[in-house]
């Protein structure tokens, strides 16, 4: 087993025992990025010098007996829509090519205060709009389990890098499933916490009422360690949850599922679900039962409308948020003709097709004529939230598949954008309701592609989903499987 195969917890223990150094671990990750990333395309930017400097500073702290905690010296990376001072932030869009933020996102500040070593910025769908990472304007990102397949998206780079042992964990964002779906496709753990749990300050906005930062790890504990570091109230984000952060990691020790009530929503096991995905998730549920949990069928009756509701609200918010990319203060600027030309030509040249599609549909819905329809979507969002409130009166957590299929082939077109949007139904409910969700590896298809199980919790109750995931990983070894070496 090589150094990069360790978990965050395993590396933290090896560092504490003096068996290795952060510099050695950082160099090992950088070497893996060098040998694998030409194929995988997980990174958009790597800053070796800065990383090694931080790693050496971590080693120096440790020698002086001033190590900061379990993340001190751990190599990680962040999705390219999260700002880190002095490192390019492009959101995988040509409109932000060359932009270097003059400040850190709060989550990055906290990650670095905990001692983590950020190696670089990770590939993604342009502005997080997509679920295959194929809308990235810069490079193709591949699934380490099958390089002819997509890693999922939009945080595809974060999932691929974590799975391929290029980093020990990563930060991503999830607006409609962008952490959980790629985590499922790449066989790693991905957590989208409760809306407001992690600050959005310094995170480039897509759909502000649903955007949430979360974490990737190879184990539930690793993803929880990262989440523990970045969560918590931030006065710089008006939607930040002003609540104490529980000791999630501490609570995992000796956790049990005895008495836990799991709801299985019949609407999320629907036609179109790949039979292998369904049987894999059902087998995982059976395992949870044998670990002491109780299962009952529940209903989320408004699920059939969720995709239309999401694809009304998210583009509307996006059309407003992305108006800031005007070619004047930063980023691409096409200077031909007058002011109006500058705006129109910059945005035409800078945004890709999917981003334009969402801006246009959002703009259309926000015109006076169609606003009643937009407001109707917001009302149905309330009904979807109520579905969850009613369900959580009966059960503690909800379990379902993450996506209807395992990873898709690169370039395998959906019949239409609407068809691709339908594949997001299982994950986007969670964002509409603002509740926490997680993907945990629970098996493989006959082609050897990873399958994840989605675990949803009550508002603010990350603890229960983490407990379920940690106990499941104690009983299974899916998360210990490594993808084949990339040629």
């Amino acid at each position: 087993m090589s150094l990069t195969d360790l978990t965050i917890r395993g590396l933290a223990e090896a560092l504490a025992r003096g068996e290795t150094s952060s510099e050695e671990a950082t160099r090992a990750c950088l070497e893996r990025i060098r040998t694998t990333d030409e194929t995988l395309g997980a990174f958009l930017h790597v800053d070796e010098e800065r990383a090694l400097e931080r790693a050496r500073a971590s080693d120096a702290r440790r020698r002086e007996g001033k190590a900061l905690g379990p993340l001190d010296g751990i190599p990680v990376a962040i999705k390219d829509n999260i700002s880190l001072r002095g490192m390019p932030t492009t959101c995988a869009s040509k409109i932000l090519e060359g932009y270097v933020p003059p400040f850190d996102a709060t989550v990055v500040e906290r990650l670095e205060e905990a001692g983590a070593v950020v190696l670089g910025k990770l590939n993604m769908d342009e502005f997080a709009m997509g679920s295959t990472t194929e809308t990235s304007a810069f490079r193709v990102c591949r699934n380490p389990w099958d390089v002819n397949r997509s890693p999922g998206g939009s945080s595809g780079g974060a999932a691929a890098a974590t799975a391929a042992r290029q980093v020990f964990g990563a930060l991503g964002t999830d607006t409609g499933g962008s952490i959980r779906q790629p985590a499922s496709h790449c066989g790693v753990v991905g957590i989208k916490p409760t809306y407001g749990r992690c600050s959005r300050y310094g995170v480039v906005a897509y759909a502000s009422s649903m955007d949430q930062v979360g974490t990737f790890g190879r184990t539930v504990e690793d993803a929880a360690l990262l989440l523990q570091a970045i969560a918590g109230h931030d006065p710089r984000d008006a939607t930040s949850l002003d609540e104490p952060v529980p000791d999630w990691v501490g609570a995992l020790e000796g956790a049990s599922l005895e008495g836990m009530r799991i709801g299985i929503p019949k609407e999320l096991f629907v036609k179109g679900l790949d039979p292998e995905v369904e049987s894999t998730v059902r087998a995982a549920i059976a395992q949870l039962v044998s670990a002491g949990a109780k299962v009952e069928e529940i209903s989320l009756p408004h699920t059939e409308h969720a995709t239309a509701v999401y694809y009304a609200i998210a583009p509307a918010e996006a059309s407003s948020n992305l108006s800031r990319f005007d070619g004047i203060r930063y980023g691409l600027s096409v200077r031909e003709g007058g002011m109006r030309d500058l705006y129109e030509k910059t945005r035409a040249a800078g945004f890709g097709t999917e981003v334009k599609r969402r801006i246009l549909s959002g703009t259309y819905l926000l015109t006076k004529e169609h606003q009643p329809l937009f407001q109707r979507a917001q009302r149905i969002r309330t009904l979807i939230r109520r579905d969850f409130e009613e369900a959580f009166a009966k059960v503690d957590v909800i379990v379902s598949p993450v996506a209807p299929t395992a990873a898709r082939r690169l370039g395998e077109a959906f019949e239409s954008p609407v068809e691709s949007y339908l594949a997001d139904t299982l994950t986007l409910l969670c964002n509409l309701a603002g509740i926490p969700g997680m993907s945990v590896p629970c098996g493989f298809t006959s082609r050897g592609l990873p399958v994840g199980m989605q675990v949803l919790g009550r508002w603010k109750d990350e603890a229960s989903i983490l407990r379920l995931g940690a106990v499941y990983q104690r009983e299974t070894d899916w998360h210990l499987q490594a993808p084949p070496e990339v040629a």
């Binding site: 932009y99 270097v100 003059p102 400040f103 809306y195 407001g196 502000s208 009422s209 006065p235 008006a238 939607t239 930040s240 949850l241 408004h302 995709t307 694809y311 009304a312 059309s319 108006s323 004047i328 203060r329 930063y330 980023g331 691409l332 600027s333 200077r335 003709g337 007058g338 002011m339 109006r340 030309d341 500058l342 129109e344 035409a348 945004f351 097709t353 334009k356 599609r357 801006i359 246009l360 549909s361 703009t363 259309y364 819905l365 015109t367 329809l373 109707r376 979507a377 917001q378 009302r379 149905i380 969002r381 309330t382 009904l383 939230r385 239409s416 509409l432 309701a433 603002g434 508002w459």
Partner: protein, 95 residues
């Protein structure tokens, strides 16, 4: 509510994105399918249901109105495509 080419051009105008005829054709098709999906929402009974506009339930924070440090002009303008001194340069807007 069939989506027309004019609707696409109007949205593109409002969104300040230049599109050509060919792109407009594609968007008529793509957005048309979305609009059809939105239309199905008309069947849902939302009588008396309040809209959910955000997911930060129960927070309406106030902060003290005080002067705090922020970016220096140099930092704020470091990414500017065109500048002069501490100003951003834009095309002439008054003829």
């Amino acid at each position: 509510m069939a989506l027309r080419r004019e609707d696409v051009f109007w949205a593109a105008h409002l969104a300040a994105i230049a599109i050509d005829e060919k792109e407009a054709e594609t968007y008529v098709e793509d957005l048309g399918a979305l609009v059809d999906a939105y239309e199905k929402l008309q069947a849902v009974d939302v009588e008396g249901v309040e809209p959910t506009r955000q997911a930060a339930f129960g927070t309406a924070p106030m902060r003290p109105d005080e002067v705090r440090p922020s970016l220096s002009p140099e930092e704020a303008l470091a990414n500017a495509p065109a500048r002069e001194g501490t100003s951003l340069l834009v095309p002439r807007i008054i003829e």
